[in-house]
């Protein structure tokens, strides 16, 4: 499958948040403003790509030949958790401002469904290493895109007349619903 196709599918057509419903917790929690969204998006992109580069060879050169594929879930999530610990450590020492502003959401990257889903997808879709990395970048940027979009919407919502029964979180989901409709329009984009 050619790389551009993989990338565009991951970014838009099969957007991880708006079409596949993954990574909703950080989506609702971190889309408060655009800068937080970008920060979270970049952190997630970094972790996803490194996680791919570590888990793909681990699965194909260790688990598979040794007939240990049933340890996939255990091994992958531990790799991601360790990576996030490393990122936390690095940020705390070198970029303390970002570390402080991300707060609890930094360790929560471990439980980001999207990252784990990407590592599983790489295996189930039979990608080679390059395709896996391209896919990982596409998905992570798609995640960031959806966060930035919702952050923009939330900004407008601050001054909008919202019906009482939708105030608070419900309006966020309703807005996401409309964003999802827009993204469904991408489905004919390729071929």
């Amino acid at each position: 499958m050619n790389l551009a196709k993989i990338f565009i599918s991951a970014l838009l057509i099969d957007n991880i948040v708006l079409m596949r419903f993954l990574a909703l917790c950080p989506f609702i929690g971190m889309s408060i403003d655009v800068s937080k969204s970008v920060g979270m998006g970049l952190a997630v992109t970094f972790v996803t790509v490194i996680a791919t580069v570590v888990t793909w060879p681990l699965y194909n050169f260790v688990l598979l030949p040794l007939n240990l594929t049933f340890l996939k879930i255990l091994v992958f999530i531990l790799v991601i958790a360790s990576l996030v610990q490393l990122v936390e450590f690095f940020l705390k020492k070198n970029v303390p401002g970002l570390y402080a502003s991300m707060g609890i959401y930094l360790p929560l990257i471990t439980t980001n469904c999207a990252i784990l889903a990407v590592t599983f997808d790489n295996i189930s879709k039979g990608f080679n290493l390059i395709e896996s990395v391209v896919y990982a970048v596409g998905v992570a940027l798609g995640f960031m895109l959806s966060l930035v979009l919702l952050a923009g919407v939330r900004d407008r919502l601050k001054t909008a007349p919202i019906p009482k029964f939708l105030q608070g979180t419900p309006i966020l989901f309703a807005s996401t619903s409309l964003l999802a409709v827009a993204f469904m329009g991408f489905s004919g984009l390729i071929k």
Binding site: M1, D14, F70, L74, K191
Partner: protein, 201 residues
């Protein structure tokens, strides 16, 4: 300090070992059952395409796809006694929500013996109707989407909206599945030509 890290390491190692051991046990119990399901499903599908066959022999890697969009995953020769009835080809292509996998039977008379959708992850109510036994592309004849390929000559155009009826509002799915059947027909009949004598054009 060192003692602490050692303690942590040992605790982690013990839990990890315990988890792996427990999982190994569960895997040995469930593994054969899971493999069994796949085998059964394959056998049932092969029989569905070639009801007269009494055996299916795997054709090792000889059949490959000739177009980049379709991947041939496996092929089985359907035999009855000494005679070859045809070849069943499992192939996949990218569809709307991920890869779709089909099993296509090509008979020795160069016609499609049948087509079955094995895996599809498209939208329920739209693309997923490919596997819906109650969804008909021809309501009068009660033909399902994959059903319309039975008896079709491999030399046909295989064009959606031309000689193939699409699933309504699911052009992408319809095109993907059609391309699989078409390619299976092409490589299947080529293989039969080279490996199985007889059969009419």
């Amino acid at each position: 300090m060192k003692k602490d890290i050692l303690r942590l390491g040992i605790a982690l190692a013990l839990f990890a070992a315990g988890a792996c051991a427990a999982l190994a046990v569960v895997y040995t119990v469930t593994g054969p059952t899971i493999a069994g399901h796949e085998r059964e499903q394959l056998q049932a599908s092969l029989k569905d395409l070639f009801p007269d066959a009494d055996d299916f022999i795997e054709v090792d890697g000889a059949i490959r796809s000739s177009v980049p969009d379709v991947t041939v995953m496996g092929s089985w020769k359907a035999v009855r006694g000494d005679a070859t009835l045809g070849v069943a080809i499992r192939a996949s292509a990218a569809s709307y929500g991920g890869d779709a996998v089909m099993l296509v039977g090509v008979a020795t008379d160069r016609r499609i013996a049948g087509a079955r959708v094995m895996t599809i992850s498209d939208t329920p109510g739209l693309g997923a109707n490919a596997t819906n036994p109650a969804y008909f592309v021809d309501k009068a004849a009660k033909t399902t989407f994959p059903g319309q390929f039975s008896g079709k000559s491999v030399h046909d155009a295989f064009e959606v909206k031309n000689d193939v009826v699409a699933i309504s509002a699911s052009t992408i799915t319809s095109k993907a599945l059609t391309s699989i059947v078409k390619e299976a027909g092409v490589v299947g009949s080529a293989w039969l030509e080279a490996n199985a004598s007889g059969g009419s054009r």
